[in-house]
């Protein structure tokens, strides 16, 4: 079997990226920003500042790893040289180039936004060739397009009416819900009973938190993921529960790329917030598209992905061994 160091690199970068993204999300975007508003925590100001600094380093590391992953995915896709693979490669490459140009203020930010949305759609088209298992990705991409359109089409003033902005955002929220509820389609096997219990364990506390402190939860969700939280709290509880169940199931069954892709997708969110989060969503769709590739059985009866890049046989690692995913 041929081994491809470059695309093996893509697989090996994705794991650490997922860990860094989780650290950045919980420490920076959600954690320390909430802690400084809780009365009585002034005496913990120093450790909270240290946590924030760790979260900020995790953010910078996540950005660097994300850039490296997108480059590695571009190379992998170009080497495959099929039309859908090349489409994904062009999506990643186009996004990287325009994001850099926008950061250097060589092009307008709006151009970066439109290119980002187009790249997501191109990556989705590549994944859609995998059949109904790609349906969750279609929902997510549609949600991102609707949310992004509500911002980009307005420009700096006067592009849309208030009703149109409302419609786009509610469509975005419904699409995100659709993604979460159809996420089990991404899996090769049905979720185990344990995975369903994990999903329930995520959904119930989410519903309680949403009911008890809905304003805070909504604000954090809007600023971190781009969802204004217009649907009833139970809808988001069901959505998070479904994603939690799929994530656990992916870990249990050894679908590492699937798990990593889901983490990146969730952290990226649907809102047009920054090139970092758009890049996460794009990388996630590309990674999940690769994870949906059908497996083949080799002569030694070991299950391999069709592409020559991933040559590791599927195993069933312990769900808690996140570190091992990066090795």
């Amino acid at each position: 079997m041929q081994k491809n160091p470059q695309t093996d690199l893509a697989t090996r970068i994705a794991g650490p990226l997922a860990i860094l993204v989780v650290a950045e999300l919980f420490l920076l975007r959600l954690g320390t920003r909430t802690l400084i508003h809780i009365p009585g925590l002034e005496k913990y100001e120093t450790p909270i500042r240290w946590l924030a600094e760790v979260g900020r380093f995790a953010y910078f590391a996540a950005v660097v790893f994300l850039i490296a992953l997108l480059i590695a995915l571009t190379v992998r896709r170009f080497r495959r040289s099929g039309p859908f693979a090349v489409m994904g490669a062009l999506a990643a490459l186009g996004f990287l180039v325009t994001a850099l140009a926008g950061r250097l203020e060589w092009i307008q930010p709006g151009v970066v936004g439109w290119v980002g949305m187009t790249a997501l759609v191109m990556a989705l088209v590549g994944a859609a060739s995998r059949g109904r298992r790609a349906l969750p990705l279609a929902f997510f991409t549609a949600g991102a397009v609707a949310a992004g359109w509500s911002a980009l089409a307005q420009g700096r003033g006067g592009g849309l009416s208030g009703g149109q902005v409302d419609a786009l955002l509610i469509v975005s929220e419904i699409m995100v819900l659709g993604f979460a509820l159809t996420a089990p389609l991404l899996l090769e096997r049905r979720p185990s009973r344990r995975a369903m219990l994990v999903g329930l364990g995520v959904a119930v506390p989410t519903a309680l938190v949403a009911a008890a402190s809905s304003s805070t939860v909504s604000i954090l969700a809007l600023w971190s993921f781009g969802t204004p939280g217009w649907l009833p709290g139970i809808a988001y509880a069901l959505a998070l529960g479904a994603v939690g169940m799929v994530l656990w199931s992916a870990f249990e069954s050894g679908e590492r790329q699937m798990a990593v892709g889901l983490v990146l997708l969730a952290a990226g969110g649907v809102g047009m917030i920054s090139t970092y989060q758009t890049g996460l969503a794009l990388a996630a769709v590309l990674v999940l598209g690769d994870a949906l590739r059908p497996a083949r059985v080799s002569s030694d009866h070991r299950l391999h992905r069709t592409s020559p890049e991933t040559s590791v046989a599927t195993q069933v690692p312990a769900p808690s061994s996140l570190i091992r995913l990066s090795m």
């Binding site: 400084i36 850039i67 930010p109 279609a138 359109w149 509500s150 089409a153 604000i219 204004p228």
Partner: protein, 340 residues
Amino acid sequence: MPRSDDTWCSMRRHHSFLVIILLLLAAAVMRVWDANPAMAQTQSIGAWKVDSDPGLDGSSPSWQSILPVFVATTAQQVTPPMGGGTVERVAVRAVHWEDRLYVMLEWVDSTTDLVTDRPESFTDAAAIQFPAVAASTVPAICMGQADQAVNIWQWRHDQQQELPSLPEDGYVDLYPSDDDSFYPAREAGNPLAQEERRPVRNLVAGGFGTLTSSHAADLIGSGIHAGGRWMVVFSRPFTPKGPLQPEFTSDTPVDVAFAIWDGSKGERDGMKSVSSFTQLNITPEDPPRRAVPALGDWPEYKPPNAMLGYVGLFVAVVLVVGALIWSMTRSEPDAEEPTD
């Protein structure tokens, strides 16, 4: 002699480990230099140049003719017991005139709430939040960070109202002593307890429990309620008079977020409608305008590119329907078939 598989795997692991270490080092260097490769992509709001003082009356034609940016907020369709957030959308307009920034917020509220004489009564209010240093950062500072300060402009309806005048035969009981020790809130500097009432307050928050009122009087503002909507205008010079306030320039976009409180819904403190962070861009261009609408125009007014929004909805729905049709008409590819 060909290398064994074990040696090859070991070399690959070392290669990958080295790449990861190099990436982490690159991240550390970027952190030290604060060289952030990412850029913000949030909704942009133009602060247009106007030729005359737009004033603080948001219902005037000079304001209403400017096409707004609609920013979604965290309004709840279903209000749980703790509630919070009932205003779904705020329309934002911004202009500048003679190095002075004006920002107008407009939102739907059928009632005017200003009486706060009972614990259950709350006032209508609105706020604009900026980072203390004018910048657009990723991730945005949002509600605040342990190491970043924010500047908040807040308007309150109960502070805008004039005190009622007495009838000729009327009288008011006053506390006999005027000594500050009998007015602890005033003595402590509570801005809501001062004799001079100002509809807007300039607040700065520099970290844990440090929300204070800036005494600089350069921030002015006023709110008008008409046609079932509030129209609140804030104004401040580009260059602030106090510390921890952003200086506005045309070179630097500034992160800005908005918050709305509807007093009749029991909103106060953290229970409010909050927008996502947007970017305010000071520009020398003229504002986009339309024929002056009637005040009853909200929210059905037609923007110049009305089709643009419908196209976006169409694209989103086509993606999902197309994926559904594709997935139903296409079977799973056989595992042995070559792919791509």
